[in-house]
Amino acid sequence: MAEISFPLPDLGEGLIEATVLDWLVSPGDQVERNQPLVEVETSKSALELPSPQAGKVIRIHGAPGETINVGEPLVVFEVPDNTAGIVGTVPKDDAPKRRVRLSAVLDED
């Protein structure tokens, strides 16, 4: 498994930090892209941040009331590192199976 960190994004208009109000997800949750992750408040407004991707939440940063700087990690997702390409599937690495047995007299001439 690989980890992908979602840092607090630039919330526009020169804001450099935000305060966590409430988490809408917990570590262990499987989230979909666009699902609200967290309520935060800046000096200008309160807002919900949607998830930029699908994945399993493994860590969240900032308890309610704590301040996070833009660019600092907010959520860490776990994603499979064996993601297939644009088509097809990752082959399973099964133990070798056989039905045929070899039989031979090896005359060492």
Partner: protein
Amino acid sequence: MSGRHTGEHIHTVEGTDPHLHVEVHEPAEGADAGLRPVLLIHGFSSSSKLNWGDTGWISTLQGAGRRVISVDLPGHGRSASPEDLDSYSPSRIRADLLQIVFDAGARPVRPGDPSSGLDVIGYSLGSRLAWEFGATQPELVHRLVLGGPNKEDPLASFDLLAAQRYLADGTPIEDESTAGLLKMAQLLPSNDLFALLSLIEAIKSEPFDPAEAVPHMPMLLVAGEKDERATTMPELAELAARAGGMVEQLLVPGRNHSNAVTSRVFKDAAVAFLGA
């Protein structure tokens, strides 16, 4: 449907076109609850995007199967900033809202038809407008949700002269509320400060008097537990209850006037109240 309120249907209700930015958000795919549309009215120095979009209200309502109409108030968001003071008066805004919701398909309440009528959610200044809209449009409005409401419009006591002096030469503003509101307005570079001052001036000429016209439809009043701008919420509730309406109140723990709006508790309560 989206875009300025001048698109396909131009209604110059009061002789001029206010150029208000309206957006209609359809219910989420497969979730349409078949219920009446919901009108969202944002607060002072905010916008539909800030007050309802970024906070997750619109997607929450869409997810609950609701059709949502959002309007940027004059001088706010993507709406125009008309020069004439009249465009900012609460009575004129109410008239424009009425035309907008009709254009968006809202129709008077018909008993037994859950798709008829209109639900209204307001926040702060939007709650004042929603109160008055509900009181003056009893045939249309089905239920009200008022967030961060106050029986006196804080904008009515705004010290306009002090604000203008401060903007002209930096003279400090004594009145705390005035200084706070102006600071809030200045924080957003997208705000048209002079349009906002025009709005304040217009409001001062039509101050909020909740007792003058009291809505009779069921109403949910919501405020942050620490919302100092909404301490008079119980008085509003009492006014409405005395007039015979069904009133519910909700305090959101730990929240204040600026951050109660994103609260899930608030959204869930509103969705449940309007869906009942």
